[in-house]
């Protein structure tokens, strides 16, 4: 493996800017590594070698000409395949969109292009981001670079694994109930779900519109902050996008001290149900935070116990409507049944063939939850729970500046486990879902390895809406201290993925 690709994005950018390396070299090094190891990991659904190298060459040419370039120019990036890209297929991990090349770029991709970042390709995900293991991708699962027979988390297992296996320095993910943070926790990477509305959703193939948020995936806090600053900001194409600027995350990530910071431990998201190794690492992290000057307080969020249930009513309801457009009429797969193919039969046959089992399960759930006579009991009550969870957050944030919990209850389990037990599977996101229901930002940071299995453990920080910077302020300090204690970066504990394994 080229040593170059093991460097942080910050380091890679410094080399680009000083002229020690070219973007073509850097991009090629990543493409070579993808070619070498992705047959084992399967993080990418599409590799955009030609396009990425063209952007890299443009950056090099313009840099040589002495032009002022955007800050991240030349740094490669991978994009989750549920964001539209005009020059590459965008499948959202579904057969129903196989081969679909969109007519437009998502706003986030437009920003990456404006920043002159070579786009290495599109990363794997659970079909339409429905899942927490990436095993529901219609194109096969992604492996966890730490242990290839384990899940990388999901839905954004592709982006997390690409970054963890050094196939890309940074990547774009989307988080509806934990799809950035949970894979980050499984792969020992850093992932942020920004405040709802901080990043435009335009061009993000919608799962749960009121929950979806795009964010950065990286190997460290500073790198995540770099990408965060590129993609955040108001977009007139997204009515739910925030008008105000939330400040620089890069600046926040340069924070050195936690003096006076009140850190609230969410009582309901610790202890029972969490793997021992994870609880141990979490308690250590609290000690470190305290040692760095933070005040640790306990907060209670009693309604969080209803979060998963509420989520699995609101999300399927919105998804059932969002996915209605996949009907074969204007784009995507079309299946024409034998006999007398009326439009109803064509739509039905296409959706039967094009959607996988988890997607069908959620469409049925959501359709049921919205049905007249059931709306109040299901969707209506779930929305009330959502309000209660928002109030829990408000109360907690009156006592603490940031909240913490383990990101996930367990370390990465084996591929194939829990597949037949959707309810057990849904509990993977127990700690991440409340943030989506309340629209608040969250960041997952690796905090060591669990003693039982040597797999990454992670801590999650949550901040009030619009206070995304606090995540980076506290994350940067804790990351620094972890590295001091463990002697190296968490990601450096990962075994190297061998070529062609």
């Amino acid at each position: 493996m080229s040593e170059l690709i093991k460097k942080t994005a910050v380091e890679q950018l410094a080399l680009l800017q000083s002229g020690e390396i070219t973007s073509v070299e850097l991009t090629k090094a990543h493409l070579d590594h993808i070619a070498a190891v992705d047959s084992s990991v399967h993080a990418f659904l599409h590799v955009n070698a030609e396009g990425a190298l063209a952007t890299a060459a443009e950056v090099d040419r313009r840099r040589a000409a002495g032009e002022q370039l955007p800050k991240l120019a030349g740094l490669p990036v991978a994009v989750k395949d549920n964001l539209t890209t005009m020059d590459q297929p965008s499948t959202a991990g579904s057969k129903i969109l196989e081969g679909w090349v969109p007519q437009y770029d998502s706003t986030v991709v437009t920003r990456l292009r404006a920043e002159l970042m070579p786009i290495l390709g599109k990363t794997n995900l659970d079909e339409f981001a429905m899942g927490s293991t990436t095993q529901f991708s219609a194109y096969g699962s992604t492996a966890n670079p730490w242990s290839l027979n384990r899940i990388p988390g999901g839905s954004g297992g592709g982006s997390a694994a690409a970054v963890a296996a050094f196939m890309s320095p940074v990547a774009i993910g989307s988080d509806t109930g934990g799809s950035i943070r949970y894979p980050a926790a499984m792969t020992g990477t850093v992932g942020t779900k920004p405040t709802y509305g901080a990043v435009s959703r335009y061009g993000l193939i919608a799962l749960g519109s009121s929950l979806d948020q795009i964010g950065p995936v990286a190997r460290n806090v500073a790198d995540a902050a770099l990408l965060h600053d590129v993609i955040a900001g108001h977009d007139p194409h997204d009515s739910t996008s925030l008008k105000e600027e939330l400040g620089s995350m890069v600046e926040a990530a340069s924070n050195q001290s936690l003096k006076g910071l009140r850190v609230g431990v969410i009582k309901e998201l610790t202890g029972e149900g969490f793997q021992k190794g994870i609880t141990d690492r979490f308690n250590e992290s609290l000690e470190i935070l305290k040692a760095q000057g933070a005040e640790i307080v306990e907060v209670s969020c009693p309604n969080f116990k209803y979060a998963v249930e509420a989520y699995y009513l609101i999300l399927p309801a919105e998804a059932s409507s969002n996915l209605a457009r996949f009907d074969s009429v204007r784009f995507g797969m079309r299946v024409t049944p034998q006999g007398n193919p009326t439009i109803e039969r064509v739509m039905s046959a296409t959706r039967e063939a094009g959607f996988g089992p988890e997607v069908k399960r959620r469409i049925i759930l959501g359709t049921y939850a919205l049905s007249s006579g059931y709306y109040d009991d299901y969707y209506g009550s779930a929305q009330k729970v959502r309000t209660l969870i928002q109030r829990d957050f408000e109360a907690a944030f009156s006592k603490a500046d940031v909240l913490v919990s383990p990101t996930a209850p367990t370390t990465a389990f084996k591929l194939g486990e829990k597949l037949e037990d959707p309810l057990a599977m849904y509990l993977n996101d127990i700690a991440t879902i409340p943030a989506n229901l309340a629209g608040v930002p969250g960041l997952s940071l690796p905090n060591g390895l669990a003693d039982e299995d040597g797999l990454p453990s992670s801590i999650q920080f949550l901040a009030p809406a619009r206070a995304d910077h606090r995540l980076y302020e506290v994350g940067a300090v804790l990351e620094r201290e972890h590295e001091n204690i463990w002697g190296k970066r968490m990601i450096d504990f990962a075994p190297e993925v061998k070529a062609g394994a």
Binding site: S90, L97, W100, Y104, Y202, G208, A317, S321, A324, T367
Partner: protein, 499 residues
């Protein structure tokens, strides 16, 4: 399809109480669509005014057209509605190939305008209060064209074409509360109500308001119940009736059809029905029940519409006069007979006449020109009066020339034609062509004397008191003057000279 049997109309009214409810869809004339920047023009080449948003491509998101919101508020205010301080859009979920997202983004439980009312007068002079339940914003669907098969309907077609130019066109749906007590006048009232809505949205300049182009479309709900019954009867909804005459006919037809069924012991099926203009009948569409499940829920991709009270007050202050009140006022000022005024209204010439009067013409003269010669020329050319190249100022000028006696009516018509031919303003044309009437009595007397000398028998008859015989002489004089004489003056002089 078996032809439905109908009950005699008078008998139907005698036996049943008619309840109607009207849903009017108004297509707004905004530059762009309801939720995207595409041109709001669906007459263009199919699928040219489209984008990821109105095609419902994966990932696309809607943004509310602020101008459409203003139009909706104006309509609400003009109908006396309250304007909601905050209103959400909802998704109405159903699968249909003309509906790009397979849900319609529409207001549901939070309409922008609600609880209004409007007074409607029918030809008998009876006035009815129609209560408005709501006016809400929504988007139109694309247009389907079914190819193959005989009916042009989806059943039996080989394939269908979809034009999404119309997808996302902003619509305002105005819904009345049930209207009771109109009896035999219910069909006329329905048409009069839709006419009033059309006039209002036209006066507000929020829609082209051309019914023949579908800018204003009506769904008419009709139900019957026994007089004195408390429970409402089962209703049918006749969709997309697109002319005032058709609305009246469709409602009347449904009354007669339902009355026959009920009187023969049958029951009405709750359904949508299609109106057939050619046959003057309705036919069964799809069954519709209150259990139709559209799985409405709040549209998560849009933030609520929150019109400021400043905006509402500004729009209220800008409201034009209510068309019905304006008509009442103008008829009073102009002193037209009911018949004359109705002709003017039906011909849609109120604006022209008002402007012509404002430019100095007498109301009757303005009316005669616009409803007479100008309307005739437009008709002959199968054009709209408003499309003719003549202004109110020019008509006022023309009327002034006639009024002052400088030209007569016949010459006036010639001058009008010249105006339409682009030859200039009436005064210029009269001067350039030398069309002014001969007002020199000397010249007229000379011509009269000559004519009388040529027709001694006529002179004799006049002297005998047969005044009507003068016509022959007048004609001869007018001919000699090439029509440029005031016939009344010629007549006076003829009688004088014949003494």
């Amino acid at each position: 399809m078996a032809k439905a049997e109908l009950m005699n109309y008078e008998q139907a009214i005698e036996q049943f109480e008619v309840v109607i409810g009207l849903e009017v869809h108004v297509e707004l004339n905004t530059n762009t669509k309801m939720f995207c920047g595409c041109k709001n023009d669906f007459g263009d080449e199919p699928n040219t005014n489209v984008c990821p948003v109105c095609l419902g491509l994966p990932g696309a998101l809607p943004v509310v057209n602020g101008r459409a919101v203003e139009s909706a508020i104006k309509i609400g205010l003009a109908l006396g509605c309250d304007i909601a301080p905050t209103g959400r859009f909802a998704r109405k979920n159903y699968f249909y190939p003309d509906l790009a997202k397979n849900f319609q983004t529409s207001q549901y439980d939070e309409p922008i305008a609600f609880e209004g009312g409007i007074q409607i007068e029918v030809s008998s002079g009876n006035t009815f209060q129609l209560n408005i339940e709501r006016a809400h914003m929504e988007e139109d669907a694309g247009k389907l064209t079914h190819i193959g098969g005989n009916t042009g309907r989806i059943q039996g077609a080989e394939f269908s074409l979809v034009d999404y130019n119309r997808a996302g066109v902003p619509l305002i749906e105005i819904v009345t509360k049930p209207v009771f007590g109109a009896g035999a006048e219910a069909p006329e009232l329905a048409a009069a109500y839709v006419r009033a809505i059309r006039d209002i949205v036209k006066a507000l300049n929020v829609s082209e308001a051309r019914m023949e182009r579908g800018n204003v479309r009506c769904d008419a709900n009709v139900s019957l119940r026994k007089h004195g019954a408390e429970k409402l009867g089962t209703r049918t909804e006749t969709k997309n009736v697109n002319s005032l005459r058709s609305i009246e006919r469709a409602v009347r037809y449904e009354i007669q059809r339902q009355a026959h069924i009920l009187a023969s012991g049958g029951s009405i099926l709750q359904e949508t029905r299609h109106w057939h203009e050619d046959k003057g009948t309705t036919s069964s569409g799809r069954p519709k029940s209150d259990a139709d499940d559209y799985r409405y829920f709040p549209e998560p991709d849009l933030v609520p519409v929150v019109p400021s009270s400043e905006l509402i007050e500004r729009l209220r202050a800008e409201l034009p006069e209510n068309p019905a009140e304006r008509r009442k006022r103008l008829q009073g000022v102009w002193q037209f007979s009911d018949l004359e005024f109705r002709d003017v209204v039906n011909a849609g010439l109120l604006d022209q006449i008002e402007e012509t009067v404002a430019a100095g013409a007498k109301p009757q003269a303005a009316r005669k020109w616009w409803t007479g010669e100008i309307a005739r020329i437009a008709n002959a050319g199968e054009q709209e009066v408003s499309d003719l190249p003549v202004t109110a100022a020019q008509v006022a000028e023309l009327a002034a020339l006639v009024e002052s006696g400088k030209i007569n009516d016949r010459i006036g018509r010639e001058v009008l034609q010249a105006v339409l031919d682009g030859e200039g303003n009436p005064t210029e044309i009269v001067a350039a062509k030398g069309l002014e009437v001969v007002s020199d009595d000397g010249a007229l007397i000379a011509a009269i004397d000559e004519a009388l000398a040529k027709q001694p028998d006529v002179l004799e008859k006049i002297r005998e008191g047969k005044v009507q015989a003068a016509g022959a002489v007048i004609g001869a004089v007018m001919q000699a003057m090439k029509g440029q004489a005031d016939a009344a003056r010629v007549r006076e002089l003829v009688l004088e000279r014949a003494k």
